[in-house]
């Protein structure tokens, strides 16, 4: 078993914000090119803020903890703030990740960013139409 921090174990055992949002404003799906895992983020946006964030994860213990932490960090933030969440900041909040598990934190940040981009994309199209 990799040596995970207490924080990682806590989020692994009690992941926050698991699930799907019905009619989300944005969806971001990211696959892990290293090991073939997958994360999906769903967001609900109101007044430029992430009103709700939910996720689904197919992956290791670190990946589950990462997605839970990302959802917690993102919820209630403005889109700009949420886009500033980086793999490093997620890993820091989790009190560190084992070296060979750091790539799992890329997955979380990227899936969230993709969901936000998806939302912005839809907004643009909506405005044009």
């Amino acid at each position: 078993m990799p040596v995970y921090s207490q924080k990682v174990m806590d989020h692994f055992m009690n992941p926050r914000n698991v699930g799907e949002i019905e009619n989300p404003d944005g969806i971001g799906e990211e696959g892990n090119p290293v090991c073939g895992d997958m994360m999906t983020f769903y967001i609900k946006v109101k007044d430029n803020r992430l009103e709700d964030v939910k996720f689904q994860t197919f992956g290791c213990g670190a990946a589950i903890a990462v997605s839970s932490m990302v959802s917690e960090m993102a919820k209630g933030r403005t889109l700009e703030e949420a886009l500033k969440i980086t793999p490093q900041s997620v890993a820091n909040e989790l009190e560190g990740l084992p070296k060979n598990k750091f790539h799992c934190s890329n997955l979380g940040a990227q899936a969230l960013h993709k969901a936000i981009e998806d939302y912005l994309e839809k907004q643009k199209k909506g405005v044009q139409a």
Binding site: V18, G36, M38, Q56, T57, F58, G59, C60, N100
Partner: protein, 395 residues
């Protein structure tokens, strides 16, 4: 909390009788077997007794047993040593796609040195077709190596049939019997092989000791040069306590094999039949019948092995997985991929290997604790959500 150790493929525990046998050699009997005095004598005698015991386990001539430091060393020695010794005859070797890394990576090293390596594929059960071996044999083939059984999926390979072909073509055949020697009957004459690897920690002996059997008359180049220990084939002062332990474990395995097989087979079959009844979308990996007695391996769809291992560990259960996330290199088990499983399915790999201390209650405990873990992880799996929507699996 209940503690259930079902990772005997990683290592078996040391039997108390084996430890007893080793103790004097960790204490008062400390002599070097090579020494020509009364300190050396008992150490030498003990090593020779162990040689008789190990030879007895596999039906070999006593002087054909070479003690090594592990199953990995035995495999390195066999692949590199046999290839190097026969270099004048050719530079082509054949291995199967599901070999242990100690065979696979030894072959890679030989490739860098100019040898050519052909890999024989396997079917969906991980079984080698002997005809596929035959088709790859060339004029310059100097070695074939196919494992006796696979430690990850439990499949037992048709070594006898492969040996018929290699014998006909006069090519040495090595088999990695680390998963079988001491567990199921292994007889080098019946198998018809020319070299065979085994390891002590697979049958209740100590870690850090193994043996390579090489048929008399088959040339092999030593990996370790130095003194004339092990007939000059493996230099270095012998690890006497470990060798004594290996010998004792071999003797006990020979004596108790039938009873052990009976126990392990019953536990394996209980898990293999009952787990799929408790959990949907479970695939059994490896051969359904031709498999190691204590070996039950599965892929649980839509979820990943490490997260299952972590939950099981919290419930006191030790198992292993061939998922990419559990491997240090973050690669799915080459054995599962060679058997045709998708990367997604391989992620859900779980491997239960029973030992002689295992009980029916252990199996029932697994059947009790695993289903809720699977449900929990599936509830957060995007693959499972997609499956539920589309109504089809990831296979």
């Amino acid at each position: 909390m209940r503690r259930v150790y079902l990772d005997n493929a990683a290592t078996t525990p040391l039997l108390p009788e084996v430890r007893e046998a080793m103790m004097p050699f960790l204490g008062e009997v400390f002599g070097n077997p090579s020494s020509l005095h009364s300190w050396g004598d008992p150490a030498r005698e003990a090593v020779e007794t162990a040689r008789v015991q190990v030879a007895g386990l596999i039906g070999a001539q006593v002087e054909e047993i070479i003690f090594t430091g592990s199953g990995t060393e035995s495999n390195n020695f066999a692949i590199k040593g046999l290839a190097m010794a026969n270099q004048k005859k050719g530079n082509h070797i054949i291995i199967s796609a599901v070999e242990h890394f100690s065979v696979l990576h030894s072959a890679r090293t030989l490739e860098k040195l100019g040898f050519q390596v052909s890999e024989v594929p396997v079917d969906k059960y991980g079984t080698v077709d002997p005809d596929d071996v035959r088709r790859r044999i060339r004029k310059d083939t100097i070695l074939v190596s196919v494992m006796h059984a696979n430690g990850e999926i439990g499949t037992i390979e048709p070594i006898k049939e492969i040996a018929k072909i290699t014998k006909e073509m006069n090519i040495p055949l090595h088999t990695d019997a680390v998963a079988t020697a001491g567990t199921i009957p292994v007889n080098v004459k019946e198998l018809g092989v020319d070299a065979l690897s085994l390891a002590g920690n697979q049958f209740y002996g100590p870690k850090g000791v193994g043996a390579l059997w090489v048929r008399r008359g088959v040339r092999i180049m030593p990996l370790l040069d130095g003194g004339i220990q092990e007939g000059g084939k493996r230099a270095g002062t012998e690890n006497v306590p470990a060798i004594v332990g290996l010998g004792k474990a071999a003797e006990l395995a020979t004596a108790n094999m039938d009873a052990r097989i009976k126990l392990l087979t019953a536990l394996r079959d209980r898990l293999i039949t009952q787990l799929p009844a408790k959990i949907d979308h479970v695939v059994i990996t490896g051969h359904p019948q031709k498999r190691l007695p204590g070996h039950a391996s599965f892929c649980i769809e839509f979820i990943e092995g490490e997260s299952m291992l972590m939950w099981l560990n919290m419930q006191g259960v030790a198992v292993s997985s061939g998922s990419a996330c559990t491997s240090r290199a973050l690669k799915a088990s080459h054995v599962l991929i060679a058997s045709g499983l998708s990367h997604e399915l391989a992620q859900g790999s779980l491997l239960f290997t029973f030992g002689i201390d295992s009980t029916v209650e252990d199996v029932d405990y697994i059947l009790e604790v695993l289903p809720p873990i699977v449900t929990r992880l599936r509830q957060m799996s995007p693959l499972y959500a997609k499956f539920e929507k589309a109504g089809k699996g990831v296979r």
